[in-house]
Amino acid sequence: MMDLILGYLTIGLVNGSFYALLSLGLALIFGLLNILNMTHGVLYMMGAFAAWAGSRYLGLGYFGGLVFAPLCVAAFGVILERSLLRRTYGLDPLYGFMLTFGAAMIVQGGFQAYFGSTGLPYAAPDWLSGGLDLGFLYFPAYRLWVVAVALVVCVIVWIAIARTRLGSILRASSENAATAEALGVGVPRVFAATFALGAGLAGLAGALAAPIYQVSPLMGSDILLVVFAIIVIGGMGSIGGTIVSSYALALIESLTQALVPQAASFIVFAFMCVVLLLRPQGLFGISVVRSHEFLAARLPWIEPADKETAAKRLTGMVPVFAAVAALLALPMLLYPVYLMKIFCFTIFAASFNFLLGFAGIMSFGQAALFGTAAYLTAHAAREWALPPEAAIGVGIAAALVLGIVMGIFAIRRRGIYQAMITLAIAQMVYFVYVQASFTHGEDGIQSVPRGVLLGLIDLRDDTNVYWLCAAAMLAVLFGLRRLINSPFGMMLIAIRDNERRALSLGHNVDAYKLAAFAIAAFCAGVAGSMSAVVFQLATLSGVHWHLSGEAVLMALIGGIGTFGGPLVGAAVLVTMQHFLSPFGAWIVAIQGAVFVLCVLLFRDGLWPHALALAANLRRQDATSKSAEVPQAMEAIGR
């Protein structure tokens, strides 16, 4: 037993090394650029591929690869930063988050489509193939080497930041980039260099990992979330703290692997939740107030001056009426399943849109709620043979409970941290479902019976399901609209715009936020339950964080904080998936490209553009001509 534990500890040290290299870069980038770099996982993966490609096509040896890979990845990082990321500076950090999310989809999707998902082998040099026998413990030489390299590199970076002039420039720019620039510091170059450094460290980690794990396009997608959790646990602003937490958590993780294997995949996330409850600033973080200040940036698309337009946008629902009426009147012209998918996704997107657009809460874990509802509805209908209304009720209730739990954690932080927390919790939920038997693993719960709704409406008839879906969508959209215009909604918007003022006026801000979270969870639950009924299927993809990303994407395409945005976004996404299916494996990359373009070009979303266009057409009818470029076109960036 002891041997087993010690063996796992060596694995912990190795993983800790990868975590340290990754979290160091991620924390530096976050501290300076205020961007949560969602590409960090693919940068790690690219490092492994660069080492592999260097050896295969350039005849580089292992050590050549160890230099070549970080340089390649750093160069890619500079290109990414200069061409895309810099366009989001000065905007809300959520844009940077979404942009890097899209970029990561492009890279990962592209690699997956090109290389497939099977791993490519990459060998360590012979002299590192032995091991070190310490008597009580056998430490493979290559792992020892990884730990040594990572530690040396981390310590060098740490000292360089704490002691050198370049380090002081980095620290000053992280603290206040505008002032540093006004003093003559070439901040754009500092940004590019820092991103390159972070990317290079990720690339080094990838090259080091290549001989241990196989070189595969998916190798970075799960590690990214763990590294996020480590940053939250370690706390921002402490490089030493980040490094220490990386190793500590990797050791805890591997110890769990030895003792309670089922819990290993989510122990880090559970740990993160505990830390957030007891010490929100993280173990080594400086202070909550400061990091709150740091993230208090307001969403630019819903500035207080926009309040009237936000209300106006809501009253501009007439076209939706028309569109929905059209869809209802002509259900059989279009493939009903396609329409029902749009409806379900509309409800799902509306849930995210409500949270972010009106409560200012960024949830990147909506898929956990969707998937939970889907699983439970499917299970209740199939195994317990409940009628559809009860099965749907069970699913929604489960989503609601989970949403409240998630909300309790999420509302403790704001902005990007909030996104990370919800993402981490969703990831835990995902791992639970991966292991639980009732979900039937990769197969999912199949052939879910639809039954007879309330004993009256036979849902085995597609037309009836279609009506049910359409009704659910309308109920959710208009229900949310009612809610937003109620005193409760006004209060949410007031909190979103100025939380401190709401607090000082004596409002129970946390209760409002939690209520908002619960409402959004309810809607996500409706979406999930409906999808289980419509597709008679509940699978892991319904809980996967990619689906959460799609909620963000739909809301963004449609226009966050708008009434009809979710419908437009869902229609675009579902249609896109429909038409892109011939591209097979490239679909993820194409979707990522659309995501990136949306962030760059249509930050307001299509819905406001559509409204402006409609208004224009109406005016053109009346006064023949006076084309007016939608003001949102300004959003193209510098």
Binding site: E181, G186, A305
Partner: protein, 237 residues
């Protein structure tokens, strides 16, 4: 050698906005080399905004800003400092994660004639013993001195100083006033925002009065009694 007409800094028709609200409405004036120009005006008049416009720190601005004969609008802030401009913001903006020495060494040199450390410590004796302290361990007066010292190190010849004596104890105020007088004697070009009219009239070669984001007066200070009366009336101070 600059000829008589040369200016260190010239603003024309500068307009600026914070979000949708306009803060500057066509500001124009010039600062001549070796002179001290003071910006006066009531709170919220737009003095700080003018300095920020010169540095290019505003979200949106139009008009022309000429630094040492070159059009600078459209340049990034750090490029503007290359013309020998040193900016000392109202909030001082000492970096708390940097030591005093690191704060001093942060801005890159813009010309070879930067002030030597010994010289700086002679001007600001309070800083001499504080080299290893972090920025947030300094008093307000020390922070102000460090903020001025920081730009002298770079060799900047044109100094933009935003209310360097605001909120400080009288003895510190006097110390900083002495430094300003000494800097003028050494030939620095200074654009100073200052509330104390007596000190303004003592130091300035030219006073520019700002009201609601516009220049309402632009006066030479020779014959200072007349100027003072006029400024007092202008600003209703």
């Amino acid at each position: 050698m600059p000829d008589a007409d040369a200016v260190s800094l010239r603003l024309s028709h500068v307009q600026a906005w914070y979000g949708d609200s306009q803060a500057l409405f066509g500001v124009g004036f010039a600062v001549r080399p070796g002179e001290v120009t003071c910006l006066v005006g009531r709170n919220g008049a737009g003095k700080t905004t003018i300095l920020r416009a010169i540095m290019g720190l505003l979200p949106r601005q139009t008009g022309s800003i000429i630094l040492s004969g070159r059009e600078a609008s459209g340049m990034r802030p750090y490029e503007r400092t290359r013309f020998g401009i040193g900016y000392c913001p109202e909030e001082r903006a000492i970096f708390s994660s940097l030591t005093v020495e690191e704060n001093l060494a942060l801005p890159p040199a813009v010309c070879a004639a930067g002030m030597a450390k010994a010289d700086i410590f002679a001007l600001f004796p309070n800083l001499r013993t504080r080299g290893r302290h972090y920025g947030d361990q300094l008093s307000g007066g020390e922070q102000q001195m460090l903020a001025i010292a920081r730009i002298l190190r770079t060799g900047a010849q044109t100094l933009l100083l935003d209310e360097p004596t605001e909120g400080l104890a009288p003895v510190i105020v006097r110390q900083i006033e002495h430094v300003l007088i000494e800097l003028k004697r050494r030939g620095y070009t200074i654009l100073l925002v200052e509330q104390n009219l007596d000190f303004v009239l003592h130091l300035a070669d030219r006073v520019v009065a700002i009201e609601n984001g516009s220049v309402v007066d632009d006066l030479e200070t020779r014959g200072s009694e007349h100027v003072k009366a006029r400024l007092l009336e202008r600003l209703a101070l």
